[in-house]
């Protein structure tokens, strides 16, 4: 496991500074309010977004990543002072979310190599190998994703998010399905990248939100409030 030896390329790219500014942001799916109005600004470090099921944690991350257009309000993502339009953010964001799936007929390495190549990284094979080493999955790199357990698939998601060392990491329930060793790996990795990466964790797991320096609690109308 290589939380202690991040690749030089990743460190170099992660040295770009990212900020996220959210103003009066809300989202509806049809008539249902999925995310109540939010306003905040994130400049560095680790932020946890907590809240009951259905309070909009995943929706918030999808909007920040540029995958979802908000119903109201706006999100500004800047990298090194430059505003990124939603369509430009993919090059600067690492997103791991439960809805992220990989091609089951391809190996973990092939999936990540494809992602790195499509991302435009200079050495895709190397980036993919390093990402798999980072999450402790180097031994299973050549296994097809369809043959991996749910915990291993979660590691592939985390490896995908870490590709190329993005300056903004959005991790939705990052510890789900992980065993103790996997959680320790995750914590070491987050601790390693946090000084130069803006990390947003969407979670209700105390072991994860305790890693954060600040916490944003979302309140959903329909399903009550978190404990």
């Amino acid at each position: 496991m290589s939380a202690g030896h991040a690749p030089a390329a990743a460190v170099e790219r992660a040295s770009r500074a990212a900020t996220v500014e959210v103003r009066s942001l809300a989202h509806r799916y049809g008539s249902r309010l999925a995310l109540e109005p939010q306003t905040f600004r994130l400049e560095s470090g680790i932020t946890a977004v907590t809240g009951a099921n259905g309070s909009g944690k995943s929706t918030l991350l999808r909007i920040i990543a540029g995958l979802l257009r908000p119903s109201e309000g706006e999100v500004r993502v800047t990298v090194d002072g430059r505003d990124l339009e939603p369509g430009e953010r993919r090059g600067s964001i690492g997103l791991a979310t439960p809805e992220l799936s990989f091609y089951e007929e391809m190996t973990a390495f092939e999936n990540l190599e494809f992602a790195a190549e499509a991302h435009g990284l200079a050495a895709p094979a190397r980036a993919a190998r390093e990402a798999l080493e980072r999450v402790g999955l180097a031994q299973r790199a050549d296994d097809r994703v369809g043959a991996l357990s749910s915990g291993m698939r979660q590691r592939v998601r985390l490896a995908f998010a870490s590709l190329g060392g993005p300056p903004l990491l959005l991790l939705d329930e990052p510890g789900s399905h992980l065993d103790d060793e996997g959680r320790a790996t995750l914590e070491r990795w987050i601790a390693l990248v946090a000084p130069r990466t803006l990390v947003v964790l969407a979670t209700n797991d105390e072991r994860e939100w305790r890693l954060a320096e600040r916490r944003i609690q979302l309140r959903g109308r329909d399903l009550g409030h978190p404990a």
């Binding site: 790219r13 995958l67 090059g91 091609y103 494809f114 190549e117 991302h119 995908f160």
Partner: protein
Amino acid sequence: MRNDASSSAAAIWAILRKECRSEWRTRYGISAALLFSITTLTSVSFAVGRLGDRGDILAALLWIVLLFASLAALSHSFVREVEGRTLTLLRLVASPTSIAIGKLLFNLLFLGVLELVTVPLFLVLMGAPPPHWGRFIALLGLGSAALAASSTLVGALIAQTRSRGSLFAAVSLPLLLPVLAAAVAGTRAQWSDGSIAAPVEMLAAYALAVMAMSLLLYDHLWED
């Protein structure tokens, strides 16, 4: 990171390679397409024998076989991403335009492979070698480009809708009918030594127009 142009080219190339690799591993589309074309041509051959003197039937048969053999695979390239829940992955690594161009190139390649098997078999079984190979190949190429462009667009349009089945027919008909009509007209004309200029122009213009329209649309298609 590379600049925008080389980054898009890298993404398109990566998507094309990924499509080829997936198809090679699963044989999702090519097996069904070849099964359809071979059984159809063999059945027609057994039933009616050689049709060398019937350019009208030959032209219609060729394009019907190519259309139906390829349509399911071509238009489902996006649906597979939605059903396999891999569209999020694609959207995170490439722009919608790069994704669509990568898929279009794969669909063209898919049609090319299908035609490599189907067209020689068709010509042998029907006993109808084309009088002008250049014209025949030009019509085949332009017809395939128009067919690939249209079916890629149909696939992108229906992929994220709930009622894909009914929409597929409703969207396909107006987009594919002009392609089929021009391709059949041109192919019939080349067998009867007529002029193919009008169908060739029609197919080329249609393919270009659909590709241009697609490039304008793709950036907005997958916004949730």
